[in-house]
Amino acid sequence: MKKTQRRVSEEHLRYLKKQRGKSAFVVAMQIILLVQFFLVWEVLASYEVIDSFIFSSPSKMWESFLSLSREGGLWRHVSATLLETVIGFVSATAIGLVIAVILWSVEPLRLILEPYIVVLNALPKIALGPIIIIWVGAGKGAIIVMAILISVIITVINILNGFLSVDKDKILLMKTLSASRAQILFKLVLPSNLSNIIAALKVNVGMAWVGTIMGEYLVSREGLGYLIVYGGQVFNLSLVMCSTVILTVLAAVMYFCVLILEKAVAK
């Protein structure tokens, strides 16, 4: 298709209209589904078809959201969790990237460490919880370490695989131009792996949330994970549900931030 072609046929206009109609339908259905979910939930609870003590209800969740924000605790909990997640996410990605670069640069090291990395990847990181608490102390540190541990290994594996799959002939080309190992890394391997690194970021966003909430279950005195555990212990299901919804929204926002970054990089 030529971009300069201004005149469009009737048929093409009809096609475009149909496509727009299609995507409008999809978005509308997505919104209706969400609204209906909460609506049905509310109605079932108010007619006592479901026990709102166990299942809570959207209006009760809203009440507990309001009381949380009135007492000023909301921002404290949200910011605590957000801070831990962002620190965990950024450091896991940075550490993973640096390790991948080192392993790519020093081949013997990569060969020696390969089996250990595979085993560490298979290990459920939550099992390290008690050790982390003893070493780092029961506080924010432990939560951040958990968030980092949960995503750093998989980051190393994914990014390193991308590095190793760079076209051998392109490396030969760099050698014919007498490039050093560092130049091959910075002028070929890293730029050609940009989309791969972004993909690792996308995975890590989710992982960092898992790590943070796990960490908060184990040790915290504040944060959304703490609210969820606390709410469960005192049977305040409204608090649990409310915190979960906030968590979902925050995770989605962070994921979209990475998507925006991806689009910016692609340009």
């Binding site: 076209d167 080309l173 014919t176 007498s178 002028k187 730029p191």
Partner: protein
């Protein structure tokens, strides 16, 4: 004429866990300054290995390579263009200068003037994916020429192109190389391509590769590759080279390969 490159008894073996492969056996070869030298051989006959040795990327197992120039004055053009998609055409062409840290204004001007001269001037800010295969290969050649090599090694640079493009790009490359007065060594399995472009053509045997015979091309240097293809002597030389190659294949068949 001066010799720019001389091989004396060069051999090379590849080693892998499953054993060793003799790629080249005591090869003697000399390339003169200013000529377009062709090397044809059956596929898998160690042609790329030979070029890597000539370029100094690979050390031969035995023998000596005497170069009248330093390895940094040798340019290398690969089968595929390998332009970097994240760089514009201009940035791709300047890659070599950047890597060697010799990116002076004068050299940049020269590289850009080459792009203009070979009708790529309007594409400098474009990404490689916006160019046709033939244009991309011309950009790859200019990326090599930007370093002002005295000798340029061409490793089947047209084989990834369709036939139509191949003929025109081959002629473009011949013209550019003649115009910039560079010595060139072309490795190919395409006999007609070698005869259409080269002043002398060496025929290699199957692996382990040795030089079987070197043909002098009787066709005038100033003829275009298209004109050469139409010349009566073209078919004659083609037949001779073909016979030499065919003989190689028959010998292989008897060896049971």
């Amino acid at each position: 004429m001066n010799e720019i490159l001389v091989l004396k008894g060069v051999s090379h073996r590849y080693h892998s866990k499953s054993g060793e492969t003799e790629a080249i056996r005591s090869m003697d070869l000399s390339v003169r300054e200013g000529e377009f030298f062709g090397i044809v051989g059956p596929s898998g006959s160690g042609k790329t290995t030979l070029l890597s040795i000539l370029a100094g990327i690979l050390q031969p197992s035995a023998g000596v390579v005497e170069r009248g120039i330093s390895p940094s004055e040798i340019g290398y053009m690969l089968q595929r263009d390998h332009l970097f998609e994240w760089r514009t055409i201009e940035e791709n062409v300047l890659l070599g200068l950047e890597i060697r840290k010799i990116k002076s204004a004068e050299r940049v001007d020269y590289a850009l003037s080459l792009l203009k001269k070979y009708s790529l001037g309007e594409f400098v800010k474009k990404k490689p994916s916006e160019l046709s295969g033939g244009m991309r290969q011309r950009v790859a050649l200019i990326r090599t020429l930007a370093l002002r090599p005295k000798l340029i090694l061409l490793d089947e640079p047209f084989s990834a192109l369709d036939f139509q493009t191949r003929l025109t790009v081959a002629e473009d490359v011949r013209e550019i190389i003649a115009e910039e007065k560079v010595t060139a060594i072309l490795v190919t399995h395409d006999i007609s391509e070698a005869i259409a472009l080269c002043d002398r053509v060496a025929v290699l045997s199957a692996r382990p590769a040795t030089v079987k015979k070197i043909f002098d091309n009787p066709l005038e240097k100033n003829l275009s590759s298209i004109e050469r293809r139409e010349h009566p002597s073209f078919a004659e030389l083609f037949k001779e080279v073909w016979k030499e190659l065919e003989f190689t294949d028959e010998k292989d068949a008897k060896k049971g390969k």
